[in-house]
């Protein structure tokens, strides 16, 4: 055995080194060895070489046992810490600059110096790193915006009955009215149809409504027995079947244009239906209908001017123009009452007697029902014309401008209906003008800014030209 020090000359006695013998021996610094209690040690600390004594080696070994690392390693345990070197060596390395380290440094070439751009880039990188949390939030909100406004998610949540409620509304657009047999469509008619459809499609998509475009071309089925107006009824009924979840159905003629696509139907009308409609036709009564019924045999509800006065009983919302009801743009709600109305709206006995008188077909028939059948009135509400059906000056314009009827740019009316434009007016011209006006009114602030600049330049050019011309002349 090798010992770090020569064995003690005093056999069995050991060095009198108090520090080493401390736990066992007397600390008093006695020079003479002393037998511990119980005689000999049963075993010696360092292999039994010197049994009853603590040697340097034995103490060191003991200390090793205590202070040394544990037998299992707690470090270098992870994959990366074990293989960091290997991994980093396997990665490609890029020397910065042309200079290789092996090359001898040459005078005059200078040391490698970081460029300013690089430094700025590093600085920016550092900044980004510091602001990482805030930037992440920004990015997330940006993503959310994209998700909701650019992708179809937008439509999904506008439609959901709990969020936007758009699936409750269906727009029925009557295209191709009277087309087919009666007349051929020219390029203007095509253009009108294209614009009108595009306008409604965009609107329906924006708010998550359903759009049903129906082909109203004269069909054999309806081109007989004055049945054309039955088609409107059939169309509404089919739509009710096609969209079983929808509640309100908005009928629109082709010659209508939604001027303000930013208005939702909910906000514009239905969230506060009672404020936006009137039940008592005496508020505006161009047909001079006697209202309410006076007959004593009718029940209270039928004799009341406003039906039962509850919103839940409103099943039909129609505007009135200067000549009575206007069915160019109106709402019906799905209900049993509506089923009945749609059922009795067209009746051959009525038409046989009245087809010469009823120019407006289903519109006149509805007026007739309203006037004569008491069950109709308690479920009908009227909406001010300009809420959903403003007229251009060409329609109803015989008595000058009417505040109730005619479109006003300053009030940003919702919808324009170019009613009757096919009778001697220019449908396409009107449609074009209103489309341009709508675009102009609904520019984004950025577009407005751009337009104002281009207009200013144009004006300056023009004034210059005028000035030059003045000089010349």
């Amino acid at each position: 055995m090798s010992l770090s020090r020569s064995p003690s000359p005093n056999r069995g006695g050991g060095w009198s080194s108090p520090g080493l013998t401390a736990p066992f021996d007397d600390v008093g610094g006695r020079s003479s060895p002393r037998k511990p209690y119980g005689g000999e040690f049963p075993f010696s600390a360092n292999g039994g070489a010197s049994s009853s004594n603590v040697t340097w080696a034995s103490a060191q070994a003991k200390s090793d046992e205590i202070n040394g690392y544990p037998s299992f390693s707690t470090r270098n345990n992870g994959f990366f810490s074990r293989n960091a070197r290997k991994l980093s060596r396997s990665l490609p390395s890029f020397t910065r600059g042309q200079r290789s380290y092996a090359e001898k440094e040459k005078l005059g070439r200078g040391r490698y110096k970081e460029s300013r751009v690089r430094r700025i880039a590093a600085h920016i990188g550092m900044m980004i790193w510091r602001l990482r949390l805030r930037l992440m939030i920004l990015l997330a909100s940006l993503l959310a915006v994209i998700l909701f406004y650019v992708t179809p998610m937008h439509r999904a949540y506008r439609r959901a009955s709990l969020l936007g409620g758009g699936s409750k509304f269906v727009i029925i657009l009557a295209a191709n009215q009277g087309g087919g047999v009666m007349e051929w469509k020219g390029p203007r008619e095509w253009a009108i149809e294209r614009d009108s459809v595009k306008n409604k499609k965009k609107y329906a998509k924006k708010w998550g409504y359903d759009l049903e475009i129906t082909d109203m071309s004269t069909k054999k089925r309806y081109a007989h027995e004055w049945r054309e107006s039955w088609e409107k009824v059939d169309t509404i009924r089919n739509c009710m079947r096609k969209y079983p979840k929808a509640e309100w159905f908005w009928w629109m003629d082709l010659n209508t244009f939604i001027m303000e696509p930013s208005y939702s139907l909910q906000k514009h009308i239905f969230n506060d239906l009672s404020a936006n409609t009137y039940r008592d036709i005496n508020d505006y009564n161009p047909l001079n209908i006697t209202h309410p019924f006076k007959s004593p045999y009718l029940d209270e509800e039928a004799r009341s001017a406003v039906g039962d006065g509850k919103l839940s009983s409103v099943d039909l919302v129609i505007p009135q123009d200067c000549g009575g009801f206007n069915l160019g743009s109106f709402f019906v709600r799905r209900s049993t009452w509506t089923d009945r109305l749609l059922d009795v709206w067209w009746d051959p006995v009525g038409y046989e007697q009245k087809h010469m008188e009823w120019e407006h077909k289903e519109q006149d028939a509805l007026e007739h029902l309203y006037i004569n059948q008491p069950w109709i009135r308690p479920h009908t509400a009227f909406i001010p014309q300009r809420k959903i059906n403003s007229f251009p000056m060409g329609a109803c314009g015989d008595n000058g401008e009417d505040q109730r009827i005619h479109y006003k740019e300053a009030d940003r009316d919702f919808v324009v209906n170019m009613a009757g434009c096919e009778w001697g007016r220019d449908c396409w011209g009107e449609m074009y003008n209103f489309r341009e006006l709508s675009n102009k009114l609904n520019r984004t602030p950025w577009e407005k800014f751009k337009d104002s600049i281009s207009e200013a330049i144009k004006r300056r050019k023009e004034s210059k030209k005028a000035a030059e011309e003045e000089k010349k002349s």
């Binding site: 059922d343 009795v344 029902l369």
Partner: protein, 315 residues
């Protein structure tokens, strides 16, 4: 230097711990809260129920059925009218029904035939008796011959109606393409009609109150039908709307004629012997006796009235 480790948790926890005082208090509070909540909910339920039904519930003593008859004091004799009234009132008294005698002159029919008056009369009865469910429209020229039969057990009771409804039957005999629906359930029925050899009979039918009844009567009474010169006025108008408008057909039940509308005279085009009154039938109807100059309603009624009087009369 080494600190002692914390004592290990035992891996065998004691099976239960004693509830602390606070938790038992809390528990009692919760129980109390739950009970209070239940009582509150029940009270709310009661209150809403009381207030919501207070407008709807029929006042006690409201008859379940009203017999509606239109009289024409201008053309009918006083004696005749009193017999009609007596007959209806006797039947009503036996079953707790009410009677409603309308006067033809009360309704402004314009130039249309007087027989139209039954339509506004029904509307009138529905206004007057706001809580009555059934309205039995019976022509003045008819007698109730078997007052022991109640309308419920005879016709209106759900199972009974289900069994007597004529399904998939041409509305206008013999071969109208419009047939009564074959899948109709009796609880969806709002009008019970009969049919004779010529068409639908509006001399005797039962109407159930509701939105549909109003819609039906108003549609039927449309001035365009009244001015159309239907050959049989309101009768043909009724056939017309039933055949053209499915929302009306879906609420209609046809039942065998003699359950509600037996005839007192033998008219071959209207069913002949088949339709004739037999003992124990509910109603005898002297159909079409008024406009026919060769017939006399009062004379036709005489033997039936005597028979009824002898059998059921009180005195």
């Amino acid at each position: 230097m080494q600190f002692a480790y914390l004592a290990r948790k035992t891996s065998q926890p004691p099976p239960y711990t004693r509830l602390s005082r606070t938790s038992s208090v809390r528990r009692r509070q919760l129980q109390l809260g739950a009970v209070a909540g239940c009582i509150l909910l029940f009270l709310i339920f009661l209150v809403t129920r009381i207030f919501s039904t207070s407008t709807e519930r029929a006042p006690p003593g409201t008859p379940e059925t009203i017999i509606v008859t239109v009289l024409d004091r201008g053309s009918m004799s006083k004696d005749y009218i009193s017999r009609i009234e007596e007959n209806r009132q006797d039947y009503a008294a036996r079953h707790g029904y009410g009677t409603f005698f309308a006067e033809n002159a009360d309704y402004d029919l314009g130039s249309s035939p007087r027989s139209w008056a039954i339509v506004p009369a029904l509307r009138h009865a529905m206004t007057k008796y706001q809580h009555t469910t059934y309205f039995f429209a019976l022509s003045a020229h008819a007698l109730i011959m078997n007052p022991s039969l109640s309308l419920e057990s005879h016709i209106l009771e759900k199972r009974r109606l289900e069994s007597i409804m004529l399904k998939d039957k041409p509305v206008v005999p013999p071969d109208s393409v419009i047939k009564t629906f074959s899948h109709l359930k009796s609880d969806k029925i709002d009008i019970v009609l009969t049919q004779d050899g010529e068409g639908l009979c509006q001399g005797s039918f039962i109407l159930r109150r509701g939105d549909w009844a109003r819609f039906f009567l108003d549609t039927w009474f449309d001035p365009l039908y009244r001015s159309y010169n239907f050959q049989k006025a309101e009768g043909h108008a009724l056939e017309h709307i039933v055949q053209w408008h499915p929302t009306i057909l879906t609420k209609l039940a046809l039942i065998p004629q003699r359950l509600l509308n037996s005839y007192g005279v033998d008219i071959s085009s209207r069913g002949g012997k088949e339709a004739m009154f037999k003992d124990d039938d509910l109603v005898v109807h002297f159909v079409n006796c008024e406009p026919d100059a060769n017939r006399n309603c009062e004379q036709e009624m005489e033997p039936y009235y005597n028979q009824w009087k002898a059998h059921w009369g009180k005195s």
